[in-house]
């Protein structure tokens, strides 16, 4: 199963990713992507309404926690994904959202 882990940190400066964990996952073959994101102040939101493309400064949703990084992992089940999420430092003061990636297979 593939999962997207959205890492919301409580503070902008808090590390969203954990290098050791990422390496460990990579070794097990479970890591597809790991990216740290630039601060929310650099976010741009785009909407197309009718013929107009509306571009705005800032994130889509204002929350207390900032989306600071994303992982894409390939793991056996939700339980393994929960175990990985629980080891991220951001889970302690922020929150990690786990989203299964849609499977398309024959």
């Amino acid at each position: 199963m593939r999962y997207l882990l959205l890492v919301y940190a409580a503070a902008e400066e808090a590390a969203a990713l954990d290098t050791r964990l990422a390496l460990e996952l990579a070794e097990r073959g479970g890591l597809l992507a790991a990216h740290e994101l630039e601060p929310v102040t650099t976010a741009t939101s785009v909407r197309v309404r009718g013929a107009a493309t509306l571009v705005a400064d800032g994130p889509f949703a204002e929350t207390c926690e900032r989306l600071g990084g994303v992982y894409v992992v390939d793991l056996e089940s939700l339980d393994e994904a929960i175990a990985v999420a629980a080891r991220l430092p951001a889970a302690r003061d922020g929150v990690v959202e786990i989203r299964p990636v849609v499977r398309r297979e024959g």
């Binding site: 089940s77 939700l78 339980d79 929960i82 299964p100 499977r103 024959g106």
Partner: protein, 398 residues
């Protein structure tokens, strides 16, 4: 000879569990087992029940699952699913012990914390208990369509999010078992009422007993089974002929179910022998003391002290205050209750307990005020009738 109905209760969950574990798909498993029972309803009365009904249901359900997978054009990973079903050889029809019991894996999937609590409850009752969607809906007083949708969503989440159908590894077991206990206890309490819904209590007891068989060395599992049995033993005495609540001390003990009390106490003894105390065991011990002819009020109050240490919460403190009042007198209890007044101001039982102690202390004016407050907050009709009765009995009529 077994009738379909008697086989159904036990074998529905068992067969769903085996297939769900093999297929990793609750929907497919449920439909296949449902089909198998539909076939049984047709054939058994005509041809007679098979020698081993459980094995027959499972083998038939397995064939139905294979048919469904073959027919389905859109299903992902068909070949893999069929291969898995082939690998799982059908059980020998004569040997009941050879039937695999995968229900524990299914319990943990149904009570997974990634599911909302009402979804956990619905899945558990439907898949493990074999209750129909309509029965589950009726028990929870929601429209059948709402419950059907809740079940569809829950099964979809299990599949799409990859919730595993397996017993968690040892390091995760304590947390996950707590979630299972909480869900089963919620089902029991929903059934306990008021108003009581016996079929939910029966189902909660059946499932906690099963869990206690599957996990014989988990003291809190045994404790929960003991607790539900000891409470349920008083079922026939809890309401009078008019459906009004009868307080524990006023209940007709001859109506208590001695067999359930004995079974609950046996389970509690086994739990305590494992020397790992927990909140369910303490509550079961309290219920056990209450079942004595002359309940030892001091020991009950001491157990509430222990419970407040193990599982601190304002509601436990409220129960502790009531126990202390019975052991040491109403004024000591009242002081403890008053300390909770702010936190539990919106909870009818705080005001009901205060009213009762004020009544015992001959302070009818304040008692009346507290009864009226409890009455305004009480969520169920039997409780309101009880409180109104008490209010009416006060010397000045409240």
């Amino acid at each position: 000879m077994s009738s379909v109905a008697t086989v159904f209760r036990e074998e529905f969950g068992r067969s769903v569990a085996v297939l769900a574990r093999t297929l990793g798909d609750l929907d497919l498993a449920e439909d296949a087992v449902q089909d198998a029972f539909a076939t049984a309803v047709e054939r058994w009365p005509r041809d007679g029940a098979p020698a081993n009904p459980g094995a027959w249901i499972l083998a038939t359900a397995r064939n139905r699952a294979i048919d469904r997978i073959r027919r389905d054009r859109t299903l992902a990973g068909k070949r893999e699913l069929l291969a898995r079903l082939e690998r799982e050889a059908p059980p020998a029809p004569a040997d009941d012990d050879a039937l695999p019991d995968e229900r524990l894996a299914l319990v943990f999937a149904c009570c997974h914390p990634a599911l909302a609590v009402d979804a956990q409850v619905a899945l558990t009752l439907r898949l493990l208990g074999g209750l129909t969607t309509e029965e589950v809906a009726r028990a929870f007083l929601v429209p059948e369509a709402t419950m059907a949708q809740r079940l569809v969503r829950a099964k979809k989440k299990v599949r799409a999010a990859g919730i595993p159908i397996r017993v968690p590894p040892p390091e995760a077991l304590p947390d996950r078992l707590r979630a299972v206990h909480a869900t089963l206890y919620l089902v029991f309490n929903q059934g306990y009422g008021p108003p009581p819904r016996d079929e939910l209590c029966d189902e909660a007891i059946r499932l906690t007993r099963l869990l206690a068989v599957l996990l014989p060395d988990e003291p809190e599992t045994l404790g929960l089974a003991a607790l539900t049995l000891l409470h349920d033993a008083r079922r026939a005495a809890r309401l009078d002929a008019h459906g009004d609540l009868v307080l524990l001390e006023d209940q007709d003990r001859s109506l208590w179910d001695e067999a359930r009390i004995a079974e609950g106490r046996r389970l509690l003894d086994r739990a305590l022998a494992l020397c790992r105390p927990g909140p369910y065991q303490v509550q079961a011990a309290i219920a056990s003391l209450h079942s004595d002819p002359e309940p030892d009020r001091r020991r009950i109050a001491a157990l509430y002290d222990r419970l407040a240490e193990l599982a601190p919460s304002p509601v436990v403190e409220l129960n502790r205050a009531v126990a202390v009042a019975l052991a040491e007198g109403p004024s000591t209890g009242l002081a403890l209750l008053d300390a909770l007044a702010e936190e539990l101001d919106g909870y009818h039982l705080l005001h009901a307990a205060r009213a009762d102690l004020l009544r015992r202390l001959d302070r009818p004016g304040e008692a009346g005020e507290a009864y009226r407050r409890a009455l305004a907050l009480a969520p169920s009709e039997p409780e309101r009738r009880f409180l109104a009765g008490r209010l009416h009995e006060l010397p000045n009529g409240g």
